[in-house]
Symmetry: C2
């Protein structure tokens, strides 16, 4: 497994790459869990070359967010990636990615300021910009993303389409703990009690799904049941919304193309989850 | 000479391209003059494949600007490009470049809202976005740009650097009419009297240059002489500024790394020009 720490070395490696081979890319912020590793596995299965980046992107954290405390364990990450047969790990530095005088930003307008973007101003601008930079550097045909960050995936697909990039996003399923909690590096912030409370996100989605499958379409009713479950468990909803899965617009009625999206504070930790209510 | 009218055909052509060949690119809005053709010549001399795009980019025109009236003569443009040995002419449509629901924009912050950006809000966002799209589609190693649009070139070089694109911009000299007027498609808006008035831009730059070479460094004095020449000719300055050629910051004193930038209304036509005062 090759470890690449500079942009120039990444660019050289791409220039030497055999163009007949398909390159797959898994961008991460490290502190890898089974969710990330499922993306790596999928990438390995579908591509000739598997590139994983680890970069805690300061541009996607707000001034009051957890950049400094974001969990990191590079040694363990590299062990895991080596075991999973990754070809290249790209570890750019903050100084190389955002040198002094950096001033170029890309934004998927409208979709970046709703849902998670409403609580995290600038977050998706930071995500869109770093992913575009990484795509220019790594030049993969396919990029593998987990569905936990549903809004992020929709935004990045739009970015690729609007900017005429040929990279395709492969959406992969959410990987969950045994009790249903979606895997996230931020789960490490939870203490034992909060870890139990955190089950409420999945439980809320499950309950809404049951209601929907029993014939309840009204977003108000579906959101209400989710809210009750979350509140009863001690969670504080940031938002609970039923949206069109393509356009992210809020919808009054659930159907096969809607998705229920949640962001919930458990203590000071903000967790997200989502599900299609059909099937 | 191959004429390519769809994004898909451009992408296919790039996929088939021999990677050992150097592709050069000249983005234009058409109505070609000797300034554009000098870029094409330079591209031909320096690259194996020469691609020229013609696309009047609506995103870089303000709501009160001259999009509808912008001069067009595709037949004549194609004749000229064929004569100059261009390999591919790319003619994307507005509908393909900005389909319904388009919402992704790139901005080089700060530098896009000063100088021409102060009078033309959104202009450089439109330029940056369309150029990034065209670069993704055409994938050239080199892009040839004229120095008349000095701020544009500085902004696009920053964009390429910040977003880690490997395309290099080749800056080419301003091409002028016999009386010094910088060539521009917008010169076609001028009537006979205005065409004579329009000489004042070059004359102002020349006079400032003489003063500088005689020992005057003060931006105030250099700008003052330029303003007098422009006003005496009946021009209305939008701005006259001495800036750092690298950072576009205004400077109080001229030196080898400053540049005098002008935007002047002649009647309702807004013309730009610029020069280094040294050498």
């Amino acid at each position: 497994m090759q470890i690449i720490r500079t942009l120039a070395k990444m660019q050289k490696s791409v220039a030497r790459r055999d163009r007949s081979q398909v390159t797959g890319f898994v961008p991460t912020m490290g502190f890898l869990h089974q969710g990330h590793l499922s993306l790596v596995e999928r990438c390995r299965e579908n591509c000739d070359i598997c590139v994983v980046s680890i970069f805690v992107n300061p541009a996607q954290f707000g001034p009051k967010e957890d950049l400094a405390n974001y969990p990191r364990d590079l040694e363990q990450d590299l062990k895991l990636l080596s075991k999973y047969g990754v070809d290249q790990v790209f570890l750019p530095t903050q100084e190389d990615m955002y040198p002094s005088g950096y001033r170029t930003w890309v934004e998927v307008e409208g979709w970046s300021s709703i849902l998670c973007g409403a609580s995290r101003p600038g977050h998706f601008r930071g995500v869109a910009t770093v992913v575009l930079k990484l795509l220019h550097l790594v030049q993969p045909q396919k990029m593998f993303m987990g569905s936990k960050d549903f809004q992020q995936t929709v935004i990045l697909e739009k970015l690729l389409q609007d900017l005429n990039l040929e990279t395709r996003i492969i959406r992969c399923p959410i990987v969950r703990e045994a009790d249903g909690l979606a895997m996230s590096s931020r789960n490490s912030y939870l203490n034992a009690e909060q870890r139990i409370q955190a089950r409420c996100l999945f439980q809320a989605l499950q309950q809404a799904k049951i209601l929907y499958q029993q014939g309840t379409n009204s977003s108000q009713a579906l959101i209400q049941v989710a809210r009750e479950i979350i509140s009863a468990a001690g969670g504080r909803p940031d938002y609970i919304k039923l949206v069109d899965a393509t356009t992210l617009e809020e919808r009054d009625e659930a159907d096969d193309n809607t998705r229920l999206l949640l962001a919930v504070f458990i203590g000071t930790t903000r967790l997200i989850d989502n599900d299609a209510l059909s099937a």
